[in-house]
Symmetry: C2
Subunit: 645 residues, 2 copies
């Protein structure tokens, strides 16, 4: 921040709530806020962590620079004796996809969650000190979401007491694992276990990939990077790997508890969604207040883009969703703790519901966030297309979340299976629990009528909740009835899968709405904080209602008139949120370094900085471009005929 | 094409229609098909035009390589004495954003459409021979869609008989014009005309930017590239420019006929939409037939992804849209000819309708296509994220179409103004014409009832048309009635703009559906060709009906039961199209070179080629990566403390 003039000061003065208190709510606690704030500034002030040059580096330089940042980060973590929480925040604010994401985010949790006590004692201390670097090798060239279809085999050899891990086909090459290509020394490899010629399904194995002396691949292992990916910097900082391993080593991890790891990882992904979304929204909101277009009268100043209802109608639901995802992510953390405690007590009763819920929320939040980042880019007009806006990179880095850790459509079909099972058990002794508890009131929900008579009636959370519950219950029951008409249930499931996906989406949207409403029932201090959150909750819900009006109307959950009233209420909520918009994105407390966007600068000083940034492009090193004499001049001078091109 | 084995041969044998005849339909005529086919092969076989290395080139090398391609293309055009039509196809198949796009696509048409006879005689011969290179400098750092708000001034100096073109502020710098940064020698610059201290609105001026001797900017002109943009290669092959010109020259072009140029340019954009969309759909369809996931029984082969209803439900509407946009684009070409003839006869009567129609279709088709390319990428699973899939580049190159030549939301608001005017004039003497003619039957449309009783009833084109007309008419009338409640109509327009945008979208979708239906009323030879197109038309329409069910239900245009029947019919249409899917994308007749996608290869030989491509990444030059000794080894060995990073 240059800090001389704040072009957004007027906007900040308009806010009708206590921004400092909202920052605490966003962070989750005062402790987390203070810690995040301190670490974010630490990273922002360290020149090694600059990232504004990423778009112009070649692949090799980009990758090498990432290695440098990762080493520097680890050095700082040691020098400053940072706690695990602080270290994790530091990696977050460094904001560059790297092998460390997989080491800390997948390798360590997989060992913690799935390995035996003895194995943990062996591997965890090495991993914690980064004396080994690990990755997670599940996906194959020919197999992603279908884990049970993996082709890699692990054959036990009783003579050597070792497992022989083998990629029998080209398509069984491990392909995609982050960090596998160039950096990792070890991997958790998933393979079909074979003993005495018998198959025992897919298990994880800890495999050493490279020598700890000279970093060369161990004998029998072919290993490399899979090539360029979407975006300039983006995931090209990461060595996603391909490996075909012939023969190697040791140490089976038990199959149990794999669902616990999945709940953990997906919970993290939901939390990441709110970060990525809030970041894009922060950029688009600030720039919408800076940018002016149309509406000037007699040569006066033009209207701020953020004052247009079309802009508000696209932007504010995304702002509301950022908060909604934050709170549902917070709740998922609690759910994970709950699941872990139950697993430790051998109580598996809530696991299917928790699994369906995290799978569904992973799908819903990542699909929404990817689309929303691109929408924020478009909301910035043409300048959103410049790398210096930060949005192209953010999109390219974020969007694989829709595919990794379970393709989003496949996950929704898993949710649908669980929903259909829940419907089929209604009336039995097995009562629906957790996020499906509302299904227990299915008789009421099938025939209740929405009571809304005027627009403000839509501000009542119970009214919203019942409309969402009725919609989901009725869609689920309707598709279950259609399913029942098929002689072969599996065929029916395949045939009706588009309808099933729609019911799952409705169910997941209901979860997010209900968790936002639950959050509002807590004590939330600070002038105006709770009021603003209430508005955002209503915007989130009523926008979904409008976007999915077909669901609500075709199930008779609301009437066309009530749908139109919801829309009127939405417009009025936009006007109420408008003066608070800048303060609501300030509450995310992002540094200019982390945002990485000229358009999203805290001080709003956009145009001079855009102009300044442009001149840094290597193409501007010379006024007459390299290639003029070979290619442009002969063309202009009609001398191409004899030119060697 | 390697041509040894065709992995998709079975798929091709399944087709129930004459692919060769469909190729003619797609191309528009046998003449265009043969010409395109010949030129596409010419480009594909020329090593200078290879493009598989784009993702790994640095900005400077990428740009220089584009200059080389452009010069080589021009050389070939001269050597082979290509016609204008052939030359334009050659540039199309070279498939690299370059200054030539603006020279031929904007600079030349602007002179042809807006300059006087005398000016044309001076400038066109130079431009046709490329003795000058031109660009189109309208957008400014602070002004895009709001052309009337441009700040650049052109002051007439009677003493020198010259215009002094000036950027008085930072935000009035011309910013974005393609080709302006490094290559163009001339520009059509848009500026506010000032004579005798009086303002006369925005006009175009032909301005020389650079010396034709040494390519240096003329005195008083500051000029450069605006920096890196979205994607690896994408538009980074293009020198989008920034310029602040102090003083310069000559030759005012009259303000008339600017709408004719806009109709021309937007017509081209709609036609480009069907190209980009069909290309993405071709890749996703072929790879969906190659890729197998889940569904294997007892270790047998897994199910082709294209056989899943969820995949069909996402993919086939995009395939249908590619054809729909092709036909509406063809019709727009006719419309442009019609408008031009009328303008030459000083008949301006159809201009507002033609302008609204092209603006709306530009918005509708580009928004849809950008989203659809990204959806196609996701439909390819993780591998769609690799640059070698071709889809990240296609997306990054395509997506600015949503913003340039009029922001898509701003355009829809222009359509809405026209719609509201049409509604207000109903009952008067002024009858709605062209694409709004259906409004003349508003009384019938306000009260008609959809007659569908069983799923197959939705196959009747008149039934579909009436439902779409009723929906649009009722939405337009409803929002017009809401508008009438505002004392200040402009305030009402701003407040209700989200609703207005929705009515415009409905109107534009109706146009596309109706032009597809008109196409089917023509003679179309070839076994099964017309039948397949009929299915695609129905898929296009019924998918929109399902996606916008809220519109149809809230206006009472159909009942919930009829909506559900439409959905049933849609599923059955998917099954009918399925065996024809590969042949339907073969009909686009794209070479592997033009597609630029390992996943979309004609022969379906995907996995070995993906594997081969990966090893070409520079990161795989060495087994132990550059940076190991500086950054990885000290980390693993706990020796970071003393390391210089």
């Amino acid at each position: 921040m240059d800090g001389v003039v704040d072009h957004l000061a007027d906007e900040r003065n308009k806010a009708q709530f206590d921004v400092e208190e909202m920052k605490i709510v966003w962070a989750g606690s005062r402790h987390v806020f203070e810690l995040s704030d301190r670490i974010a500034r630490l990273v922002a002030s360290d020149p090694v962590f600059r990232k504004d040059n990423r778009a112009t580096l070649s692949r090799k330089d980009l990758f090498k620079n990432t290695l440098r940042k990762a080493a520097h980060a680890w050095k700082r973590i040691i020098e400053l004796r940072l706690s695990e929480e602080e270290a994790s925040k530091l990696r977050f604010y460094v904001d560059e996809a790297a092998f460390t994401d997989l080491h800390w985010g997948m390798f360590v949790p997989a060992i913690k969650g799935q390995a035996t006590e003895e194995q943990q004692q062996k591997w965890l201390p090495l991993a914690y000190k980064m004396q080994i670097i690990g990755c997670y090798a599940q996906t194959e060239l020919g197999h992603g979401s279908n884990v049970q279809g993996l082709e890699t085999t692990a054959t036990f050899d009783p003579q050597t007491d070792e497992f022989d891990i083998h990629s029998p086909t080209l398509t069984s090459s491990k392909w995609w694992p982050g960090g596998l290509g160039k950096v990792s020394t070890h991997a958790v490899v998933y393979a079909r276990l074979i003993t005495d010629g018998q198959e025992h399904g897919v298990h994880g194995f800890i495999v050493q990939l490279r020598s700890l002396d000279d970093h060369l691949p161990l004998p029998g292992i072919t290993i490399g990077d899979i090539g360029m990916k979407f975006g300039n910097g983006a995931y090209n900082t990461m060595d996603n790997g391909v490996t075909r391993n012939g023969k190697c080593v040791r140490s089976n991890v038990p199959r149990q508890l794999i669902y616990g790891t999945m709940v953990f990882v997906r919970q993290t992904i939901v939390s990441d969604a709110s970060c990525a979304l809030s970041r894009a929204v922060c950029i688009a909101t600030r720039y919408s207040a800076v940018r002016r277009q149309f509406g000037s009268q007699n040569g006066g100043v033009e209207t701020q883009v953020i004052d247009y209802k079309t802009q508000q109608n696209r932007l504010f639901p995304l702002l509301a969703a950022a908060y909604a995802f934050r709170f549902v992510g917070e709740w998922l953390k609690w759910l994970y703790t709950d699941v872990t405690q139950r697993l430790q007590a051998n109580d598996f009763s809530t696991l299917p519901e928790a699994h369906a819920c995290t799978a569904g929320l992973k799908s819903l939040t990542t699909t929404f966030t990817a689309d929303a980042i691109e929408e924020c880019r478009k909301l910035c007009g043409g300048h959103g297309y410049l790398c210096s806006s930060g949005l192209p990179e953010l999109f390219a880095v974020y969007v694989p979340a829709c595919t990794y850790e379970g393709d989003n459509v496949v996950l929704l079909l898993q949710v649908a299976r669980f929903l259909m099972k829940t419907v089929s058990q209604l009336g039995s002794e097995k009562k629906p629990v957790g996020t499906t508890a509302y299904m227990g009131r299915v008789e009421h929900l099938m025939q209740c009528r929405c009571s809304v008579q005027k627009a403000e009636d839509w501000l009542n959370p119970n009214t919203i909740l019942e409309a969402f519950e009725a919609r989901t219950a009725r869609m689920s029951v309707a598709v279950a009835q259609k399913l029942a008409q098929f002689a072969n249930p599996e065929e029916g499931f395949l045939e009706l899968s588009p309808n099933l996906v729609e019911a799952s989406v409705a169910h997941c949207q209901l979860i997010v709405v209900s968790k936002f409403i639950e959050k509002l029932q807590q004590d939330i201090p600070g002038k105006g904080v709770k009021e603003l959150l209430g508005m955002l909750c209503n915007i989130y819900a009523l926008n979904i209602l409008h976007k999915h009006l077909g669901d609500f109307l075709s199930t008779g959950s609301i009437t066309p008139k009530q749908g139109s009233l919801a829309n009127d209420q939405l417009r009025s909520l936009y006007s109420q949120v408008r003066p608070n918009a800048i303060a609501l994105v300030d509450a995310f407390n992002y540094t200019d370094h982390y945002l990485g966007s000229v358009l999203g600068r805290y001080d709003g000083n956009v145009y001079p900085k855009l102009y300044e940034e442009a001149w840094k492009d290597p193409l501007n090193d010379s006024v007459v471009p390299d290639g003029y004499h070979e290619y442009i001049r002969p063309l202009l001078k009609n001398q191409l005929r004899n030119a060697r091109l």
